[in-house]
Symmetry: C2
Subunit: 104 residues, 2 copies
């Protein structure tokens, strides 16, 4: 079954939104902590440009990754779980079919 | 007289290099201090993207501004003085002709 044929109930939409936001917040906190570590070691111009390169990379990744279209969402959750920003338990309440696609 | 017709003695080259490096270092320290201030107030994703935007802007400005070709250097110094990264005293020892172009 194609993911764009899958129906989402309103309770599933709520679970999905919460998990999506939680992953995003976890990733943002990770970046904040990384910035703080890098700023402690800021000494020369190359450290500034290295911080800039890091933020450019993370921003691009985030812009690409957090795609809330329902046709994409199961694949997005698969990625977010594999990267440890959420666990499958955060999606508890989704249909078995959805969980099985996420865990494929 | 066009600036690319101006001759630079070796002692002038040394003065120019030192002033150029001093301005660059002052500007880098300004950016470092700004980063540290911004990081103190880092709370949400938009603060991270705002830091990224700030670094993108400053990096572009610096890449454009610090042009060490002798044909450009007097104009570069004019800018660096107007932005308070060095003073005309840092260029003491350059010929009157050069100082007069810088101060035009």
């Amino acid at each position: 079954m194609y993911s764009n044929e899958i129906k989402w109930s309103s309770s599933e939409k709520k679970i999905a939104r919460d998990a999506f936001d939680k992953a995003y917040q976890n990733e943002i906190e990770e970046i904040e902590n990384a910035i703080k570590e890098k700023v402690k070691k800021l000494e020369m111009a190359s450290d500034i440009w290295s911080l800039h390169d890091y933020l450019t990379k993370r921003r691009k990744e985030i812009d690409r990754k957090y795609d809330y279209r329902y046709s994409q969402l199961l694949f997005v959750f698969r990625t977010l779980i594999s990267q440890n920003y959420i666990s499958v338990n955060d999606l508890s309440g989704l249909s078995e079919e959805k969980i099985s696609i996420i865990q494929k």
